[in-house]
């Protein structure tokens, strides 16, 4: 090392030579898991981000450190990102539809009008 470190712990390490090439191999940082956070029992789990982990168990451990160390949390889910099936972004237009939706809305059915009309004719 060029300089003596101010950190005694660093000075105790056997550091490599300056400029030494260290390469991390692809896959060494494992898989990606999506994390879903539940704030209180009975609430929906909400997607909050992801963690890298070798398996679901460790994904849960890392998710707890990453997403549950501050705010309230009662439960977490993790799902391998690869296992999530989603629509393509380009297919967004398939969700476009007719704005006239009263046929599937409570307000689209006027029963009182009919009842009153029926009562008047009696």
């Amino acid at each position: 090392m060029l300089n003596e470190s101010l950190d005694p712990r660093v000075n105790r390490l056997k550091l490599g030579a300056p400029g030494e090439v260290i390469k991390v191999e692809e896959g060494e940082n494992w898989n990606v898991y999506e994390v879903f956070h539940q704030e209180k029992r009975g609430a929906h789990h909400e997607h909050v981000g992801c963690v890298h982990a070798p398996d679901p168990q460790l994904a849960l451990v890392f998710a707890k450190e990453q997403f549950a160390r501050r705010k309230k949390c009662v439960n977490l889910w993790v799902v391998k990102s690869a296992d999530i099936l989603a629509f393509d972004v380009e297919d967004e237009d398939m969700f476009a539809n007719n704005l006239e939706k009263t046929y599937r809305d409570a307000s689209g059915f006027k029963v009182m009008e009919k009842i009153n009309k029926f009562k008047q004719t009696k």
């Binding site: 090392m1 060029l2 300089n3 470190s5 101010l6 950190d7 712990r9 660093v10 390490l13 056997k14 550091l15 490599g16 300056p18 030494e20 090439v21 260290i22 390469k23 991390v24 191999e25 692809e26 896959g27 060494e28 940082n29 494992w30 990606v32 981000g49 992801c50 963690v51 890298h52 070798p54 398996d55 679901p56 168990q57 460790l58 450190e65 990453q66 160390r69 501050r70 889910w77 799902v79 393509d88 972004v89 380009e90």
Partner: protein, 332 residues
């Protein structure tokens, strides 16, 4: 903490920038219109190659800064004065590592693997915030970092959280929420020294003198020398110019330093009452470029410690790489 305004770019890529703007004019126009309307760009969306490249660099360097930034502060965990300060510092350092993870994830959505980013950090190809190439010599340095470097980073991150790329904005919102504690605990520790014994006060003043130039460097070179900032600002990759962010920082924090009876090592520093902007002596930008290119007091140590950690942790990562399949029950 820790994203500065400065994004290191490799000089040979400048040509590409100009050419790609004419790639797919219709898609580009639609893309720019979406951004102008305030819409967020999401990972699956079409984006210009240069937008992807610049964002990857920006987010990746921000992530590296979080990870490397934990080193000078981590040094002081064992020596933090008192139980409460030690708890706060441990929590802060853990947060910074968490921020690094969030940011790496955001950068990964742009197509670059985590491993490739780490390799670029270790080889020196990818940079991190220059301030972490300086040592934290005393406890007062830690309070200056915790108060002023975090404050500077918040100025930058709050601006960036209103940018155009969805995953980066979401990561930054979470980060900014956590940073508010970092800033407050830093300010608290800073005030304790500033209002303490003459020796404590002197220790803080010395640290402030040491850190003032790196802090002035933090937001990057002056606007007059920055390259292709205009397009990055139109694309909402960069949300404010370096000088504007520096000015905003000075405006908020210089009074908070002066009110404690401390001084700053720049006799020219003052707010011009006519323009409303701060005036200061230009910091030594040659020093800035020297340090970012490896010539600072701690560049070598930081990278060597990172390399050591990667080397020593490799057997654990590899041992876990091919786990036996386990049966998982449905979650709901």
């Amino acid at each position: 903490m820790y994203g500065g305004g400065y994004i290191f770019d490799e000089p040979n890529k400048k040509q590409l920038w100009e050419e790609q703007l004419h790639d797919e004019p219709e898609k580009l126009a639609a893309f720019e219109e979406r951004i102008a309307k305030g819409e967020k760009i999401e990972p699956g969306d079409w984006m210009p190659t240069e937008y992807r490249r610049q964002l990857t660099r920006l987010i990746e360097q921000h992530a590296h800064s979080e990870i490397i930034g934990a080193l000078p502060e981590g040094t002081w965990i064992t020596r933090a004065p008192g139980f409460k300060r030690k708890l706060a510092l441990i929590a802060k350092v853990q947060d910074e590592i968490g921020h690094g993870q969030l940011l790496y994830n955001a950068a990964e959505t742009l197509g670059k693997s985590r491993e490739a980013m780490i390799n670029d950090l270790l080889s020196g190809k990818s940079k991190y915030s220059n301030v972490f190439n300086y040592p934290a010599q005393t406890w007062a340095d830690v309070t200056v970092i915790g108060f002023l470097i975090d404050a500077a980073a918040i100025v930058n991150q709050v601006a960036n959280s209103k940018g155009s790329y969805g995953p980066y904005c979401r990561a930054l919102e979470r980060i900014c929420y956590e940073e508010s504690f970092h800033l407050k605990q830093g300010h608290d520790a800073f005030i304790e020294l500033a209002t303490g014994t003459p020796a404590q006060k002197q220790m803080l003043q010395d640290a402030l003198n040491r850190w003032w130039q790196p802090i002035m460097h933090f937001f990057g070179p002056p606007d007059k020398t920055s390259q292709h900032s205009e397009k990055l600002m139109q694309w909402k990759v960069k949300m404010a110019s370096n000088d504007d962010m520096r000015n905003q920082f000075l405006d908020t924090y210089v009074p908070k330093i002066w009110e404690l009876g401390l001084t700053l090592p720049d006799p020219a520093l003052r707010k011009n009452p006519d323009t409303g902007r701060w005036e200061y002596t230009d910091p030594d930008w040659n020093e800035f470029f020297k340090v970012i290119n490896g010539g600072g007091p701690c560049n070598e140590e930081r990278l060597q410690v990172r390399k050591w950690a990667e080397e020593q942790g490799r057997w654990v990562r590899k041992a876990l790489m091919n786990p036996q399949d386990r049966r998982v029950l449905p979650v709901a």
